[in-house]
Amino acid sequence: MTDENRAVEHPEVPTLFDVQEMELNFGPQHPSTHGVLRLVLKVDGEKILEAIPDIGYLHRGTEKLFETETYPMGIPHTDRLDYVAAATNNHAFCLTIEKLLGVEVPRRAQLIRVMLDELQRLSSHLVWLGTSGIDLGAVTPFWYAFREREQILDFFEEYCGARLTLNCMRIGGLPFDLTPGWVERVAEFVDDLPARIDDYEQLLTDNRIWKKRTVGIGVISGEECIERGLTGPLLRASGVEWDLRRAQPYECYDELDFAIPTRVNGDTYDRYIVRVQEMRQSARILRQCIERIEPGDIRGKVPRVIKPPAEEVYASVESPKGELGFYCVSNGTNRPYRMHCRPPSFINLQALPRLAKGHLLSDLVALIGTVDIVLGEVDR
């Protein structure tokens, strides 16, 4: 009996060629979701008809915790938001309260902050490069990326004792000065870096398999990125040259010379290129900071008990994922009345259903990688 006849005789039994919508659970425990992201997929065979993210598995009530503790006690909580980029989280948090207090950060502290930020950006992009390579079957870049990341974590360890949850900034400045020889070791690392980025690029940029898996996947226009609030490499890969370090410079970014890499196609491949280029720019920024660093104070004039005026401010930094902002409402006491985090991962993840629609299941893995989410930040 042919398939056609069977369909006539038993219309209730689906044939091989009927559209069969199936609901598929993807995650929350799946290596390629980079954390505890659950996606409810509606698939027809391998084609994704709809992807509905289900988040909150890592919700720890960070914003509630901020309200129960004093201002400086909030800084370690920010480490646990985007846990592969703790320095930028610390930075955004401190920047918000400094704005509220009207405190000026000394120049040496500014330079060290920028250095920590850029090292963190490198390490975050290296994690992204390694893991999203693995997602698509390119295992080798992972070992190279994590070799360099290990060095960066060693720098952090030497600076503040921690490798991931850094807690490396304070309101008005920094907790510690640099250890002797730190700058020289970073300089050595930065000198090596461009050649090492060349290595990653040699493995991936012109790799035919890599291109087949990434070019034309998850295309999004610059207009739509703005409409959906996407920031960071996603926005820049779609041709919008916007980076908070340039648009609204904080610390001493305004005197540093660096380019904002952009691409026009807005697909997964372009987002890869943008991130790799950003790593090169981070190396450039680090080099300039090393040249400029000079002895000086590492903490501004901050009162012992931090009691900002009863006002509200929003301040944001360019984290490796995009615009990371904090909105703080003070009621004049030593605890924030309300502290809200604007997490780039949360907003960027919102676009995943749009990016994934119509692609194959295997491309979804590439797309989760390219959006570069950290669930600690999505769920807070």
Partner: protein
């Protein structure tokens, strides 16, 4: 020294994402000033009549308080007429004893002005706020988060479900009266297991740990 109030004129807009804002030379003076004369506020009051309640400026950030019913109109006006195309963030604040109880806070960014504006509206417990998700797609999940965390409903939202907690969660965690731990937390989160006041306390040896 008097507070310097020199808001950037909206006409002299720098190229998108291009020119950097001059670095803040002096730290901002403490205390907010009235910003009802600010060009954006004036434009908003004339563009959406009867919407603006008050406006202030602190640390070079403009806050406009608008009427709750007009929020969607205000958002659309700011997006289309004042070029605030990027909705940075939507959140809420619980003032507990104040009337109306909540503030819903919006941050919009304009690429051509390279600046942000903060729009706020009050909402009493149980009052619906017009959703801006049809104006800015970016606000979709943020509004769901506010519903989840504060229990403020948004009228006209396409899919207003809880987002960080689960459907059936009892209470809204970021409200000021939501307990941090103890009997009431259990009762609040797992009402069927721990009825009000009957659940184990923090020092109870038989405390049930739900992981």
């Amino acid at each position: 020294m008097a507070e310097e109030k020199a808001p950037p004129p909206p006409t002299a807009a720098p190229a998108a994402g291009g020119e950097a804002k001059p670095k803040e030379a002096a730290p901002p003076k403490l205390g907010a000033t009235d910003a009802s004369g600010h060009p954006w506020v004036r434009s908003l009051s004339s563009g959406v009549p009867d919407a603006v309640v008050s406006a202030k400026e602190f640390a070079r950030q403009v806050t406009v308080v608008v009427k709750r019913e007009k929020v969607a109109e205000v958002a659309r006006y700011l997006k289309e007429k004042e070029d605030f195309r990027y909705c940075v963030d939507v959140t809420a604040v619980d003032w507990k004893k104040r009337e109306p109880r909540f503030d819903v806070v919006y941050h919009f960014y304009s690429f051509s002005k390279n600046d942000r504006i903060r729009v706020k509206c009050g909402a009493a417990d149980g009052e619906e706020v017009p959703s801006i998700a049809s104006v800015y797609l970016a606000a979709d999940w943020s509004e769901r988060e506010i519903w989840d965390m504060f229990g403020i409903r948004f009228a006209g939202h396409p899919d207003l479900r809880r987002i960080l907690t689960w459907e059936g969660f009892n209470g809204h965690p970021l409200r000021k009266d939501f307990p941090l731990e103890g009997i009431d937390t259990g009762a609040a989160i797992y009402p069927e297991e721990w009825p009000e006041g009957a659940g184990p306390g923090p020092n109870d040896p038989n405390r049930k740990v739900v992981s």
